[in-house]
């Protein structure tokens, strides 16, 4: 089940939870925070979400990954708040009988997450500045009021 957490993500625990005796493959993706972006040095990153809507969107990606790729399970955990450099901001864990479907579903879920879940990332640069990362517009937007 999709989760938003404010503590470090334990990817090993997520893999153990996904393991099933009828499955031969677990594909896991971890998005980790980077120390540079567009040529600038990043000091730290902070994530925020519209939590109820983000959870529903993540759950819907999990469910669609299962039906679309025929995998056994898909689990998404996103961290919120400040995430120190090189730690995981997101983990997508897919269990499947076979590895091709596991990879395909994991990759698709990550693409969907970036496109359709109300979560925002703010980078604080070493020069003290901070900026929201340019993202993807959700669905169809409102007309200019």
């Amino acid at each position: 089940m999709a989760e938003l957490v404010h503590v470090p993500i334990d990817s090993g625990q997520l893999a153990r939870a996904a393991a099933r005796p009828d499955c031969g493959a677990i594909a896991q993706f971890l998005g980790t925070t980077r120390d540079h972006h567009a040529g600038r040095r990043v000091a730290s990153l902070t994530y925020e979400a519209y939590e109820p809507m983000a959870l529903a969107a993540l759950a819907s990606i999990e469910a669609e990954a299962v039906t679309r790729f025929g995998v056994a399970s898909c689990n998404i955990v996103h961290r919120l708040g400040e995430v120190p450099l090189a730690e995981s901001s997101v983990a997508v864990t897919v269990a499947s009988a076979h590895r091709v479907a596991a990879f395909d579903a994991c990759r698709w879920a990550m693409d969907e997450l970036k496109r359709s879940v109300p979560i925002w990332k703010r980078e604080r640069f070493e020069d003290g500045d901070s900026e929201w990362v340019e993202g993807s517009k959700l669905g169809a937007g409102p007309d200019r009021p």
Partner: protein, 81 residues
Amino acid sequence: MNVTVLLFAQARDRAGRGRLDLDLEPGSRVSDALREIARAHPGLEPLWPHLAVAVNGELSAPDMPLAEGAELALLPPVSGG
């Protein structure tokens, strides 16, 4: 008719706050709420073309009617992951 507005990320920064309470005419639609918000918070101006709007957690079109107690959210382009 009371409507709560939640603002996230750049929208919150530009408005200077994460939550607004609007008192709208009965029968108001999403577009009426947005017009109110734009009037009260001109700093949002450059962001409007990039915002998505959700009502009670679902993406919504401007002509959607609002009900008493609705939660409207201004959602800048997303960058999770």
